[in-house]
Point group: C2
DNA sequence: GGAAGATTGTTGTTGACGACAACAATTGCT
DNA sequence: AGCAATTGTTGTCGTCAACAACAATCTTCC
């Protein structure tokens, strides 16, 4: 543990470059290296063909948004997945591990470790279900409830960072577009 | 190798559930398990508080979109990152590994393995730079160029899947919102 | 011109994460 | 009662981001 925080300023802001209209027709087969003028322009590359790919933009955005989340909640040492688990349990106490895993789209094998760490920190507790002795009923501890309240405040701050980054109405439109995946 | 393809139908389509308007006010501290009616409604949980979080929606969407990309390009055994590397090199022949890594936001350590695999498949080649004997000038091989053309056709098909999933104009608006990250 | 520092490619480690397989305990079905 | 399915758990494998260390090479500065 104690490795999470890496807030290290990896949030480089060199993004948002201008999309130059010149398409260089790169198909040139010349195997000879393009003389010496390649060395210094490596800050204006222009990846052209990648611009129209949703997956690439989403991946880059996802990396940024997770880094900001981790950094914003570094003081409480909570990662996005842990937060989502606690949120679901907090909103639906008594759920089984299977139910939480299915709801969040994570595997139950993975949830085991997540719950182990959260249980060690006295944030959630597994209570043996009386109706089904295979399963555990998941609850937040009293400490977990007050902690989650603070996590939510920090998460709201993170959400404000997102709004600053892409614009308030763009963020809402994004949530609307992706609501099918929530 | 030969493990990539796992197109295995893991693309579960149980997403896009209806958001029931009933919020159950879950704060109830009753540690007693909610009798037996928890067992069967585990398909309508309602995670409520997670709905307003951009990061969660983006993560779920990113998982879906990558799985579709991998499945759509499974026949040529190309993953999203490999595709992005080849695209950048194809559009800017002669770049150094550092330049490609910085442009794509991946670490140069990671790029080493990516290029190893692509070079073993005779898709790209590292040519020792004459002007800076530390660096390599990256080029597509002739085989790599024709292969990339096919990859782009398959990627376009994948992009159509995205449009089918979230709507054509929603996809374009998404690309526009996230253009700062491209 | 030569020492000190930075850069480039490389190797290796760590940790989070998704996918999968196997297993014991328990439940459900018939 | 007997057999299939479910639940939590453990373990393995592969991907990926983040670091650290290193040799070779460039750059800078005295």
């Amino acid at each position: 543990m104690a490795r999470n925080s890496q807030a290290g300023g990896t949030a480089r802001s060199r993004i948002a470059r201008s999309r130059a209209g010149t398409r260089p027709r790169p198909g040139r087969t010349r195997s000879g290296n393009g003389s010496a003028h390649n060395d210094l322009l490596n800050d204006e590359i222009g990846l052209d063909a990648l611009a129209g790919h949703a997956g690439y933009a989403v991946r880059r955005f996802q990396i940024w948004i997770f880094q900001d989340f981790i950094r914003t909640l570094a003081a409480v040492d909570i990662r996005p997945t842990q937060y989502s688990v606690m949120t679901v349990i907090g909103a639906n106490p008594g759920l089984s591990q299977m139910a939480v895993a299915k709801r969040l789209g994570i595997e139950r094998a993975r949830l085991v470790h997540l719950l182990d760490s959260l249980e060690h920190r006295d944030l959630v507790s597994r209570i043996k279900s009386a109706t089904d002795r295979r399963s555990h009923a998941l609850h937040l501890t009293a400490q977990g409830r007050t902690a989650l309240a603070q996590f939510k405040r920090l998460a709201a701050e993170h959400e404000r960072h997102v709004a600053e980054k892409i614009g308030k109405e763009n963020r809402e439109r994004l949530l609307q577009i992706l609501s099918a995946f929530t």
